[in-house]
């Protein structure tokens, strides 16, 4: 799986500090405090979108829209070329004595081709980017992050005051805290 973004694999990163929340408002407030204290939050895993978190942890805008645009251009070009080759160049067809070049009847083909390429392209790139490819080992930090818990992951760096961060998380309403290193979790 060399083509996949290795940086996203939690296994290959430094030790992680994991905090588990039940309440999203407390999570948002704490994440905000952590960021203001200068802590870099690796990611936050939530079973549903929590408004404001993306801005707090400084998530960059998804490139998915740009990918969609280029997929659309590809699909549009592909279908225009295809219909031109089939319908004009290779075997011109007389349908109801209509002209063959750039007629309104091309529009549905162009439109459908554009939509098809965009939809498949976006799905493909989305799954690829998020490592949701068949054969990849599941790296869910906590199985409850797909159900009713909100998980914060902070990557430790040299010289980081881990104690202070854990204190802040505890005060901020974390119901559980753990360490994650080389694929092993230990409850603190």
């Amino acid at each position: 799986m060399g083509i996949l973004d290795k940086k996203l694999s939690l296994r290959d990163r430094n030790k992680m500090l994991i905090g588990v929340w039940e309440d999203e408002d407390q999570l948002v407030a704490t994440a905000s405090k952590l960021v203001h204290a200068g802590v870099h939050i690796h990611d936050i895993y939530t079973p549903y979108p929590v408004h404001g978190l993306d801005r707090i942890i400084g998530a960059r805008r998804s490139k998915l829209a740009r990918i969609a645009f280029f997929c659309a251009i590809t699909g549009f070009t592909l279908m225009t070329t295809m219909i031109w080759y089939m319908y004009v160049h290779d075997w011109p067809m007389n349908i109801g004595n209509k002209p063959v070049r750039f007629t309104p009847s091309w529009a549905p083909v162009m439109f459908e081709g554009t939509v098809l390429c965009t939809a498949f392209g976006m799905s493909f790139f989305f799954f690829w980017r998020n490592r949701l490819v068949h054969g990849i080992k599941n790296e869910t930090l906590d199985i409850r992050q797909t159900d009713d818990r909100l998980i914060v992951a902070i990557e430790t760096v040299a010289g980081m005051d881990e104690k202070a961060i854990l204190d802040m998380m505890k005060k901020g309403g974390a119901v559980e805290m753990r360490e994650f290193e080389n694929g092993v979790q230990t409850v603190i």
Partner: protein, 471 residues
């Protein structure tokens, strides 16, 4: 961030119709009047052929020469015209309708333009009610902070309706050839007897022309008043009382269903019937979307203006972004319906369907293609990027093009059917748009001052305050 589960307090705001805005509105009206005047002064005046007593007869003669079902249908002029374009319709349906705008008295242009502009603004105020109703039916929260804007737009229904009715009353004989045909009282076998128009006379008759729109507009108006009064009653009720909200949902659902079914009929009766032999089942919905996207653009303009003047403190760029998305989305939807109507008729090439597009494509080619360009190409490419939707200057430029484009779209639906060939989108058309646009602005801004700008007791107001479309 204010993400606690505590009650937020949103302050009520009172809009003041500033002298500057009043001046702008008056400038629009005066400019519109001047341009309309120039338009009237410079139009081809052929009324010497049509004094008031012979208007009907004279116009029918010229109409009869070329009309589809007349005895004289094979005139040399029209036949050679057909061959030039390589489109010789089936003899069974007769040749293409070829008549020139000089065949109608000059005053027709005034009434036809009044019809267009009245219909345009009537539909805009009606789609505002529809938009408002859909927000309730869909339980939409994000829009609750801007709901006073469609609430103000919808008050324009009576004014637009009066303009429309004057146009119908004054110009019905000239605008609608089926009204004119009705007065002839022809019997089967008479020269010029039109089986198609007789077949449609149960729906297309001059009683229907006045009664149907009046009844419907009165019903819609009453429901609109009810929705508006529920909204202001909610403001004055105790905090947390959601009974008005629930009642609004019921009324909105009723309105949405009624309006959705009946608006097509009005479009058929008032606009599609200028080409009375022609029909398109998608026409009503196409009309709805044309005005719907215009109304959203106007709403975005008003919200942006209020923001600029320091009102609507709780409305953020996120709301503007969503309005931009609405404009963009329905631009695409408009193009979808436009193409659906055009493509099927183009492919099938049935003469009585072709008549509508033939004149528009051959004699109004620049208008026809320019219309698609203004209503689809420019807004689609212009509003595609996220940053464009969040920039109010881009929205203003693209939105202005859209408003003119969709007004021109209605013009293109009516004019070739009424006048035949040789009309231009000129001073009078622009003048009428500016004139009624100025009245519209005055009326809507006055309506905005009548109640607070924020629906302070709306149950979803907090959701709107926190509305965020993400990075």
């Amino acid at each position: 961030m204010g993400h606690g589960h505590h009650e937020i307090e949103v302050k009520q705001e009172q809009f003041v119709f500033s002298p500057k805005a009043k001046r702008f509105s008056i400038i629009l009206m005066v400019l519109g009047l001047i341009l309309t005047g120039i338009g009237i002064a410079t139009m081809d005046n052929h009324s010497e052929n049509h004094n008031s007593t012979t208007v009907a007869a004279a116009s029918h003669e010229s109409h009869g020469e070329a009309t589809v079902h007349g005895e004289e249908h094979g005139t040399a002029a029209s036949a050679s015209h057909e061959e030039e374009h390589g489109n010789v319709p089936n003899e069974k349906f007769g040749p293409r309708v070829v008549f020139h705008h000089q065949d109608k008295p000059a005053s027709t242009r005034i009434w036809a333009n009044m019809l267009i502009v009245g219909y345009f603004f009537l539909m805009i105020s009606l789609t505002a009610v529809m938009w408002y109703a859909i927000q309730y039916v869909a339980n939409a929260g994000w829009s609750s902070s801007i709901k006073r804007v469609p609430e103000a737009i919808m008050t324009f229904i009576p004014v637009a309706f009066v303009i429309l009715m004057i146009a119908l009353f004054m110009g019905k004989n000239e605008i609608y050839h089926w009204v004119h045909y009705e007065h002839l009282g022809l019997k089967p076998g008479d020269a010029g007897y039109d089986k198609v128009l007789v077949g449609k006379s149960g729906f297309l008759n001059s009683n229907m022309l006045f009664i149907f729109p009046t009844v419907l507009v009165v019903i819609w108006y009453v429901m609109m008043r009810k929705l508006r009064s529920l909204s202001v009653a909610e403001d004055n009720a105790t905090k947390g009382d959601s009974s008005f909200f629930k009642k609004s949902i019921s009324f909105s659902a009723g309105f949405a269903v009624l309006f959705g079914f009946t608006i097509s009929v009005v479009a058929w009766l008032l606009i599609m019937s200028v080409d009375a032999h022609w029909y398109s089942t998608i026409f009503g919905f196409y009309n709805f979307v044309t005005h719907w996207v215009t109304m959203i653009t106007i709403m975005a303009f008003i919200v942006a203006y209020l923001k600029k003047e320091g009102y609507l403190g709780i409305v953020t760029n996120e709301h503007m972004h969503d309005l931009g998305k609405f404009m963009f989305a329905f631009t695409v939807f408009w193009a979808y319906l436009w193409l659906s109507q055009y493509l099927l008729i183009w492919y099938a090439q049935i003469p009585e369907e072709m008549a509508y597009y033939q004149i528009r494509f051959e004699d109004y080619k620049a208008n026809f293609l320019g219309n698609f360009f203004m209503c689809f190409c420019i807004p689609f490419l212009g509003l595609l990027m996220r940053s464009a939707k969040r920039n109010r200057y881009v929205l203003a430029i693209i939105g202005s093009i859209m408003i003119i484009g969709h007004y021109h779209d209605v013009w293109l639906m009516v004019t070739p059917g009424v006048f035949g060939t040789g009309m231009t989108f000129g001073f009078m058309e622009i003048g009428m748009l500016l004139l009624v646009g100025g009245i519209f602005m005055w009326w809507v801004f006055t309506a905005l001052t009548k109640r607070g700008l924020i629906a302070v007791n709306h149950p979803f107001l907090e959701e709107s305050v926190h509305h965020d479309v993400g990075v």
